[in-house]
Subunit: 464 residues, 2 copies
């Protein structure tokens, strides 16, 4: 099953196609380099050409032609994914969805749009109707809604609404298959989990319908807290105030803000931990009462009334994976881990802080799961070697913490380390030749893989 790149490229010549090696390489890369582990393995990769379809019909045409010529196809939204999700491991075609950016309709409680629309632009269209997305990635300004659904998990808004995978947080997806004659399918309800968070391995999403929440002029806040547990409790307790509507509650262990948040640094004291919040404007009085009951906490910034010389920008661009980005910009040795603390999180966090000190800094995001608010940590890690990173993972696990490893490029290894039968069986139907984003679903290539070490996709293009 050898790909015939030249034939496919020729057959698609009438579309918006790019085969300039420099720009093709740029469009073949995402934020995989956050991980030194992935950087060492994926840096050389590039596709052969990029097609940017202008309609669903052109998506279908591209998939039909690539199928005929055995050419791998990796879908690309904006390429802001972290795990090499959008890296074309076997080369071939990158299907760039930048032209499919239309917001089709906004109804009470839901929006219908094309996958290549930026989260920011979807929100702008919804704002005109007093609405906004329930949740968004902190890459709101640059990422697409299709990429968020196919590659993301949750983000700003997850403290209230849970994550994308929760029932009700995606309403409908329209999906094109990669077959001799591609089919167009509509998924709702139970079926949505087949293609959401599947990295585009089993279909190309061409239309999405998402639930909305009311839009508010969210007030962004920074609160400095003298004690780490008190900072964490402030964030979690606030999320548990049923009458106070929030969209974000993030906690940054000292000296994260002091070292990496340049515009916050002048306003925070040594040793103080930082909490970032987004609160509905009409809840600010109630928040004032809440805060007045916490003597160790100082409000240092509110976006609707502040005297900071240099505006810090949206507070959500300090949270989620933007924390890592800000740290990386100052210290290129920084990477991160995604950690859950099952049960009572406070003793587990104390243990990790005692164990690792400055090598691992806590960065907590409050998320709701199964009706209950808790912490997801995107801990900042000072990287030294792959061996030490593995050891840090093992030490977390040994203390009952659950690690989602962001230093893996497959669906299974980044998640719960077992394959998703629904996604796999749909891939068998929708992509019988295994050409969609090859190498990202271990269950397809190596059903007996034991997860003892990082998986190597045998079909990966070699470095030149």
């Amino acid at each position: 099953m050898t790909p015939d790149i030249a034939a496919a490229r020729a057959a698609l010549g009438h579309l918006d196609i790019d085969d300039n090696p420099v720009s093709v390489r740029a469009k073949s890369r995402d934020f995989f380099w956050y991980s030194p582990v992935l950087k060492a393995r994926l840096d050389h990769l590039t596709a052969d050409f990029v097609v940017a379809p202008r309609s669903e019909a052109e998506v279908i045409e591209t998939l039909r032609v690539c199928h005929a010529h055995n050419v791998p196809v990796t879908v690309r939204g904006a390429g802001t994914g972290n795990y090499g999700q959008a890296m074309p491991l076997a080369g071939g075609c990158v299907l760039h969805l930048k032209h499919l950016d239309r917001v089709t309709a906004v109804h009470p409680g839901r929006v219908i749009c094309q996958p290549g629309a930026l989260l920011r632009d979807v929100d702008a269209a919804c704002n005109a109707h007093g609405q906004e997305l329930r949740m968004f990635s902190s890459t709101w300004a640059t990422a697409t809604i299709g990429g968020f659904i196919a590659g993301g998990s949750g983000g700003i808004g997850s403290c209230t609404w849970g994550q994308l995978r929760d029932l009700g947080n995606i309403l409908r997806l329209r999906v094109v298959t990669m077959e001799e004659t591609p089919r167009v399918l509509e998924f709702r309800g139970e079926e949505l989990s087949r293609v959401s968070h599947a990295y585009g391995t089993n279909g190309v999403i061409t239309e999405v319908e998402m639930p909305l929440a009311p839009a508010y002029d969210w007030v962004g806040l920074f609160v400095a807290v003298d004690d780490f547990d008190a900072a964490a409790r402030l964030a979690l307790d606030l999320a548990n105030e049923d009458g106070i509507l929030i969209k974000l509650a993030s906690v940054f262990e000292a000296p994260t803000a002091q070292d990496y948040f340049q515009r916050v640094r002048p306003h925070i004291r040594d040793g103080e931990h930082l909490v970032a919040l987004m609160i509905a404007p009409h809840a600010m009085d109630a928040f004032g009462v809440f805060l007045s009951r916490r003597p160790g906490a100082r409000l240092i910034y509110r976006s609707d009334a502040h005297d900071w010389d240099r505006d810090p920008g949206p507070v959500f661009e300090y949270g989620w994976n933007h924390t890592t980005l800000r740290a990386l910009k100052v210290d290129p040795a920084i990477t991160y881990l995604q950690v859950l603390y099952p049960g009572d999180p406070y003793p587990k966090m104390a243990k990790m802080r005692a164990l690792f000190g400055a090598e691992v800094l806590q960065h907590l995001e409050v998320i709701r799961a199964g009706g209950t608010c808790g912490f997801a940590s995107l801990s900042l890690v000072k990287f030294t070697t792959e061996e030490r990173l593995e050891e840090i993972v093992r030490l977390h696990e040994a203390h009952g913490c659950f690690v989602f490893n962001p230093h893996r490029y497959t669906l299974e290894e980044g998640g719960r380390q077992h394959r998703d039968e629904g996604q796999l069986s749909f891939k068998r139907e929708a992509d019988p030749k295994g050409l969609l984003n090859p190498g990202k679903m271990i269950g397809w290539d190596d059903p007996d893989f034991d997860y003892a070490t990082i998986w190597h996709y045998p079909g990966m293009k070699a470095a030149e």
Copy 2:
């Protein structure tokens, strides 16, 4: 301090005043008669006259005049309260707020209105802006917003937003005091708890500002479930689905629906328990998935697509205290208790069901408290004697259940049986003569009361 009724009445003669004994008596009564205990004690009560002010200035004038003549004043919204809250124990003046019914302004996330506006009319004004009240009493069609704030606790919407007393669920109250020269005060934040749920004992609310939620065409549903625990779990688990937006989840133990819900009866089998839900229309697909995972549950009604001969009306008019109302209409011996099941509710509910059988039927409402969903039960009780009712309360308490006694007319006895210092100290300021809704705050009249038996207000008018 003898009231001079005639002098006050004469001084207020230019206002909308009523002293026809028949209509005054009607305007002096609320839904106290739900309780046979209160029925035996309060049935004879009536005010001397009713004033219906047309402006805040007329509220001030009425309070000033009544203060000067030592005339008690009991505020009245719509008189749908259950605990004799609006019954003028010492006679005097009923201050009827029916004319103060204006909705002044609707902003994103909040509404400003007068206290005498019906909940239904506030919602109608907000609906024009795509918004609605976060929560409302099941007496939405007839009750006022001021009465809800001064006398209510929560209701439809509390499964998402908690209760009125939670921080952020009331934004601002404007309050007139009962002094020689009444003052007009504005309360926000911490101060709100002084006058909310104070039965109008320490000030008259003349303007309210309430937070809003987005308005949806909520789908009302009835689900029949073969097992009681499964019915309760269905309601609670649904409330814990973070991506499925609901406004109501009520559970009715069999044979509540069979015996008391006439339009539901033809559609439910013997022994089946009933769950009533309100779900956002865009969450119906996700609810379908949720329901398909529960084999013992049958969807028997959805308001947006049904073939019932006789429309059951809004499902929320089956929940909260409307359950008791429907049961009472069929069986006048029915009354109720308000019960909380701390900790794991299921064994406690099983114990109560085993202990009381048909004498006490579980009626659960899902409410959110401190970020966590749980049950409040408004159990239906077949009343025999006051002694047996007390015993039923004691047996609940003996098994670790917490009872809010609805068979009491004071603030303290219906609640946590201790006085609210904030409300009491504000009464000292705002109502120095103790003329506002006298007899409802034990802390004012008898600070040493021990709660061993029902309290008797010594100033209560005797039956003729």
